[in-house]
Amino acid sequence: MELIINGQRFTVAAEPARPLLYVLRDELGLTGTKFGCGAGICGACTVHVNGVATRSCQTMISTLAGAQITTIEGLANGERLHPVQQAFLELQVPQCGWCMSGQMMAAAALLAANPSPTRDDMIAAMRYNYCRCGTYARIGRAVMRAAELMKEGRQ
């Protein structure tokens, strides 16, 4: 079947029930999306499906015909980082970095839907992504900072 990932069309031969995560990582070489638990709990595998933050380990590719899929590799606009990536870099958020693709994808989906989140909105959106290194204090600040950067970008 055909998948649209980061604006590019890919033909994949995998069986329809295969979760998107394994197709991204093992067949298309897009290893920026991470495996963490395989059960939809930790959030490391979060991608966007039609702009919505989605657990790729729980999403069968058969459900994705015609959908626009975005992964961390497609979040930046070429060399230009997405405001979420800019903020995560500016505040030096990642430590080991394994959960960070999922964190940034969750944050970008939040800000696309809600450009001016309150702190409670931010926590409601980010509370399903684990970070074992414990960068939560910086994640919270970076999501709010990214909202500012997006506002500045629009002005």
């Binding site: 638990c37 059960a39 930790c42 970070c131």
Partner: protein
Amino acid sequence: MSESARPPRWRMTRRGFLIGLGLAGGGLALGALFGLPAARLALSDLLGDGFGPPATLPKEPNLWFAIQPDGQVMMTMPKVEMGQGVHTALAQIAAEELGVSWEQIQIAQASSLGPVRDGAGTSASYSVMGLFPLLRETAATLREMLRAAGAEQLGIEIAQAQVSDGAVIDSADPTRRIGFGTLVSLPRDWQPPAEAAPLTPPERWRIIGQPTPRLDLPAKIRGLATYGYDARVEGMLYGAVARPPRLGARLRRAAPGTARERPGVVEVVIRDGFAGVVAESRLTAYAALNDLELEWELPPPFSQQDIDERLAAQANAGTPIQKRGDATRALQGARVIEATYRTPLAAHANLEPQAALVDVQTERVRAWVSTQSPIQVANTLASLLGRKPETVEVIPTYLGGGFGRKITTVVASEAALLSAAVGRPVHVGWTRTEEFRHSYLRPPTYATFRAALDATGTIVALEQRHVSGNVLFELIPAPLRWLFGSDFGAWRGARLVYAIPDLLVTSHIVDLPVPTGPWRGLGLLANTFAVESFIDELAVAAKIDPLEFRLRHLPNTPVGRRFRATLLAVAEMSNWSETPLPGRARGIACSIDMNTIAAHVAEVGYEGDRLRVYRVWAAVDPGIAINPDGLIAQTEGGIMMGLSATLFERITIQDGQIAAGNFDRYPLLTIADAPEVQVQLLRSGDQPFGGGEPPMGPIAAAVANALFALSGERRRELPLLG
């Protein structure tokens, strides 16, 4: 590194380091022998998973950095990056002493074959602390050679030649300068300086001590950093390994069953005690495990209660690890305050599970592994496959969390067995269930305290009997354990800093039917919870403010004075003397680990009937922080990970198996429960101490002490919730 690129000459420096010099690829390369400082950590050489011959100290120096003709410095990293920021900190030290700008440094990861080999691996918060003197001296030697060469080119005395931003400059006429890149391109018989190179004095540091953006983050931000789970090569296959249904079970008999008939399966590999599948995709390999015919020899089942009882039964055993006066006698007939503290088994829960890609070829073996110990893994693979060590190269990748769980990485051996069977590269990446059920764990602890106060509220005698599962003994061959007397990993954090005239701390290790080992800080978090909670109990009994009680008991020694400064700093940050908001309460605790002192104040309250940790203030004295922002990040992260363990984390045993198979049964702290954290770094000298683990030490005790202040309930067992 080819022989021709080896430095032709070596000389011994004043600290006993060998410095080697030589031309490599047109540039100037310089290395150092890792033997002497690494010898202090010789124990770590034993931490491999194969117990083969320990990685011997290198017999010749290794190339560390090379100046390229374009003036860039390529620095090779003997340590692995697992989020602790070690690459950046080491590069800062090198750039400082070389006299180059930050932008002129480039880094590359060393493999198990070099060019820089460090048998100690990356653990114990020792990387920056241990390499600091050697790295400075090696870099300063190179700088002085360049200064001499530059002075000669400029026709000036060496004393008149300054080094700055990778150039030698005539101090009398700063327009006259020659860059390092130009210098190393000139034909020259490079000689090491006759005298030991002077080290840059701390007051002139430009890069050490400055908050410095991490070198690994640009790739991580874009999802382009390669971890062990991400390692990919042409023609690779995926492997999966059959796991025992119960801890300690042995594979008695295995047969392929119908596995070979499953489309996509390439091979079924059955060896003594091992059964695995190689397939074209990971999911196929795992699915085919169900097709195998396996017979397990099951040990008798054991329960959580068995473990708890084994610890408690040994409460009076143990060898002394700290002794002053005669505490046992002093406590006889005294009014004794007693308490017992317990901590549970806990998981590392590194978000990247164990992963390795191994390519076993006729002539050589290459392995890309998410490991803290590349040289030990290489030795293990060489002995497993019957190869010469120099034909096995382990290339450490970025680690998606280590926390001690990647000190031994049996996954590399699994991938190697499978690759050897099919003659193609094989990747093994564990599932979360394998990670939970087939890893070593943080051991449970059981600590019994007895103490007596005098009429002024001073501790006159204290006895702690500490019982734990293995931490480092698990990794040391039994015949060698006597060398170490006690398992110092298990009792890390259990010794007391306080000046108590009669003091006894003993340590006893209990063999448990569940594998245990090093977890971030080893015993630090669990033991500081017990010690600093009990100190709080004594402060309450003495009716003295817990901060004041601690200050009164600190010894008048350099370490005691550092504790005082750190405690006073955290007290000031948190306005300790002021009453918290209604419904909230505070607790304080402190610890020392790898010579870094940490003091925390936690502020807690109830949200409905649920305990919330609202704020944590942390003061940390690491000697000096090479990268202050990096150390602040380690402190914030250590507090969050420690808080997760404090509030939620407990592994339990059910029918001889670890009950949790995923995060549904072992939830971690999320951003919803994350407190606001404020960190202040103190500088007490010019030598950096440990950074990755020590700052987390006090958090569990600070929270438990705050909970007591809030509720009047003394909690003596972790986790506090759940």
